[in-house]
């Protein structure tokens, strides 16, 4: 496989091509929609062409991305590099590359998109072309976030993601769609604008001393961040963190998420949960940890972040427990799962970080799949309330089977993908934060309770609603959507080694970068004397430390 990929120069063009394919598809789709509207007055036939073009584009993108799995070298650092100057006077390059962290998110995106697009095949029947073109643009932007190697490009891609999602929620969403779309947009916009300030500050600090041109490449950012004062680094950390915390979403910045999820069409929810939220945790791994290791190691900052993460884990689970709407329940379970990811990242052990990566991947798969399943139910009954269902397993046996698989993956039953991640996070963070790990483990029980209860109310219980007697089971399209997801769920659950092997070197490197700072912080605390650069921030941090450990 590798020889073949080399022979076609795969590594040189794969990333820009993956960004270009959806864009070209979107352009074609938009043009086709425009012509069809003008010449043929639209109609179902032209809508069908729109759907198939979208599916073909996503499928092509997935096929292209598959080569990454084999061509990727775990010890190779940044790979598949591609770089052209964009705004040379501002030190901005259009620079792409991926490493052991981003490859999984890129693959997750390209894998889920062709499946997600099938979910709206029949339920989206107005302005089909625009709807799908927005998804194609969204895909380019999401891939761009994970591929960018220039902070400016990263920011631009990060922001582009907002607009298609804003319109998808706002135009094709549910009853309170305008409210949800605006809330989603403004929440994320505030955070990311603060990140913009941080990016600018770093880029200007890295300016060439002779020409005065700023430099926004990741390398320059990493180089310059270590030379800044501790105060500057602390402020910059919070500037970046504000963007990520909203996106993840970390408690208490999560309130946009349930609204956005509930109002979005199925495909939008899938992307939101599976990929958009990962942009936040990806940002933590990509920027917060390597750029500001001493701030991350600072006991106060770390305790606060970990505290919020664990509160999110428990709070998300508790709130999910009382939901009456299936989609809202899954949305809150996302808050809980993403808290677990943050716990894994800030516990700063190699195992917990690997676990955090695994939870990201499996949350993308299982929550994405759950939203797909809820979408099927909604298409049939136009409601998501638990009280409207019961005993569906009898009329929809296939549906029951797949929902069972998704639910097991979501609550981390051994043998499914979810188990690997949660186990690694809890085991890894137990080494450094035993109490937090134990508290978070409670959430595993809680999530089992609320998801299994939901399962009981939907597919078991007596079949006592007359409307449910004639519900058709999953059709071929829906089975075709779920089979690949279910396969991957079990594949990762039973054989996670190929994934872990690919992410381990990069994460090890990250942990080694930070460990000295953690050790220094611990030593400082033990002796009570500031060893490093003494700053007002560090001193107050020591005196008001929250004793979480």
């Amino acid at each position: 496989m590798n020889a073949f990929l080399q022979s076609i120069g795969y590594a040189n063009w794969v990333l820009p091509v993956m960004l270009a394919i959806p864009l070209l598809g979107a352009g074609f789709l938009w043009f086709h929609g425009f012509v069809a509207e003008r010449a043929l007055k639209g109609g179902p036939a032209s809508d069908d062409i729109g759907r198939w073009v979208t599916f073909a584009t996503f499928a092509a993108n997935f096929v292209v991305s598959l080569g990454l799995w084999w061509a990727f070298d775990p010890h190779g650092g940044w790979q598949f590099e591609f770089s052209i100057p964009w705004l040379p006077r501002w030190g901005v390059t259009f620079s792409l590359a991926i490493d052991g962290i981003s490859i999984f998110l890129v693959l997750l995106t390209s894998f889920l998109m062709p499946i997600a697009v099938l979910s709206g095949w029949t339920s989206i029947d107005r302005r089909v072309h625009t709807y799908h073109a927005l998804f194609l643009v969204l895909t380019t932007a999401m891939l761009g976030v994970f591929m960018a190697r220039d902070t400016f490009l990263f920011y631009v891609m990060w922001e582009i993601v907002l607009v298609p999602m804003f319109f998808i929620i706002g135009v094709w969403g549910g009853e309170r769609r305008m409210y949800a779309a605006t809330k989603f947009f403004i929440y994320t916009f505030i955070g990311s604008l603060l990140m913009l300030l941080g990016i600018l500050y770093l880029g200007i600090a890295a300016a060439d001393p002779i020409t005065g041109r700023p430099d926004f490449s990741y390398d320059a950012a990493f180089r310059i961040a270590q030379t800044l004062s501790s105060t500057e680094r602390t402020w910059l950390f919070f500037a970046f963190f504000s963007a990520f915390a909203v996106k993840i979403p970390l408690f208490p910045f999560h309130t946009w998420l349930p609204d956005a999820h509930v109002e979005a069409p199925t495909e939008g929810s899938v992307d939101l949960a599976a990929i958009l939220l990962k942009m936040g945790t990806y940002g933590l791994l990509r920027f917060s940890l390597p750029l500001f290791p001493d701030v991350v190691a600072n006991p106060t900052v770390r305790s606060v972040v970990l505290g919020l993460a664990v509160v999110g884990v428990i709070y998300g689970a508790l709130v999910a427990l009382v939901q009456t709407d299936f989609k809202r329940l899954v949305a809150y379970s996302s808050v809980s799962h993403m808290g677990l990811v943050v716990l894994g990242i800030f516990a700063l052990t190699p195992e917990s970080m690997q676990g955090a990566m695994m939870v990201q991947i499996s949350h993308g798969l299982s929550t994405g799949a759950l939203f797909l399943m809820i979408g099927m139910l909604y298409d049939r009954r136009h409601t998501r309330l638990f009280s409207a269902f019961g005993g569906l397993a009898r009329v929809m046996p296939l549906y029951g089977l797949f929902l069972m698989i998704c639910v097991m993956s979501s609550i981390a039953v051994p043998g499914t993908n979810g188990f690997i991640g949660e186990f690694l996070v809890l085991a890894g963070s137990f080494q450094t934060y035993p109490i937090l790990a134990v508290v978070s483990a409670i959430s595993v029980v809680l999530s089992a309770i609320f998801v299994l209860w939901a399962l009981q109310r939907v597919i078991f219980n007596p079949l006592d609603k007359p409307e449910n007697l004639k519900i058709p089971d999953m059709n071929w399209r829906e089975v075709a959507m779920m089979v690949p997801v279910a396969t991957i769920i079990f594949y990762i659950g039973l054989h996670p080694a190929p994934l872990l092997r690919r992410m381990e070197p990069r994460l090890q490197e990250l942990v080694q970068q930070i460990q000295p700072h953690v050790a220094a912080a611990a030593a400082k605390r033990a002796t009570g004397v500031a060893t490093g650069v003494a700053t007002p921030v560090a001193v107050t941090a020591d005196s008001v430390r929250i004793p979480l450990r």
Partner: protein, 504 residues
Amino acid sequence: MDFDLATPFGLTMALGPDVIVMAGAMVLMLVAAFLKDKPHAQRTVGIGAIVVCVIALGAVLMYAMGGRTASSGPVAVDPFRWAVDIIVLVATIGSLALGIDDNDREQINIAETHVLMLFATSGMMLLAAARDLMVLFLALELMSISTYVMCGINRRSPRAAESALKYFLLGSFSTGFLLFGIALTYGATGSTELNVIASAVAGGLGERQLLLNGGIALMLIGFGFKVSAAPFHMWAPDVYEGAPTAVTAYMAAGVKAAAFAAMLRVWTEAFPGSVDAWRGPLTVVAVTTMIVGSIVALPQRNVKRMLAYSSIVHSGYILIAALTITETGRSAYLFYLVSYTLATLGSFGVVGAVSKQNEGKLNVLDYSGLWHERPWLAMSMGIYMFALLGFPVFGGTGFFAKWYMLDASLAGPLKMPGVATALVLTSCVSAGFYLYLVTLMFMKERPTGERVGHTGQLTRVVIGATALAIVFLGVFSSPLIRWAEEGSPMTGISAPVAGVAESR
């Protein structure tokens, strides 16, 4: 040296493009008098005015490419002036085009509207050139008085009358402040020429520094009024709302650009030596403008009022350029103005297209579901809103403009992270009203029976050209950045700024 400003001929040649506009205006005024009873008089004269502007634009480009220089005198011959001239002329051409369609719709068959706009434009171009406070004052008055009349040109509309009267009274009042400031500055430094003032300030004024500070403060008030900076912004919403839409576009884009150019020149050429005196107050004015504009815009339901407050917010952002007193600051100003002018012209174009005769259909709710009826109109408006919001790619140049302004505020000898944070946070607030219009246009259903009237050909061209320019320049920004960088150096400025840099 191409022009000797001490001789009348040299001075006239140095003012070539300005003279073209002025002469064109006079000729067109005669033409207008002869055409008085013809049905399409205003259209003919309007097209003639556009032609005059295009010729002037050609002259400006010729002067700029020729790299003309001049001796020190009352007017500047430098790249900054040409760059501002280009922005002002483009804004004028756009406003004239909108104005022709606007007058047809409102049935204002007064050809002199376009002539007045040309007079105002010649004032603006002179404003961009002025290196003497007296020339500056003359130019400002030429611009303002023409604008007062244009505001009230629609005699059937009581709102327009209110707008014109309000603008006139408050405008004259503020001019008084400006003139008094000029007098005090003259008293302190003994000159009205900017470079003489600068060297006097740099040499130390002793007791007269107090006099100069008073002069700067009064001039700040005068300029603050012209650029509608808080707390001198009160007139803007009422005037913008009442004036004919094309005139509002002209005021928001052109008048503001020219007033800012003059302010930037005075502040960077004459007053950098006493930066400590004006830095604090100007920072307060800039930040207050951002905050007041963005918050008060939120509850507005009249589109023109909303855009008026939006233009106040942007004044606050552009004031950062004056605060930086660096070349980056001036480049950022030029870049920002291009982006802002395009978005403003376009958005008022859409407002004109949607509105009905006698200023109907100006409520934001009249934009509900516009996408379903007029997709291109709605999409263009979406682009302008995202551009004013400063959003990348979808807002095109708007994002780069804000980026440039942030860059200017964080780079250079005087770092201003506080002002940069204010810019960012008020941008978030402004998302509240820009997005509201977008949500209405795209996410609401069109009320049944609502039809948008026919959109004039010229308005279509303006809307299409500005939207395309915003998006295109938002991806391929390099030429625009180069243009802004090359347009930033001013004559006779490097020494005082270097002194500031050292003293920090």
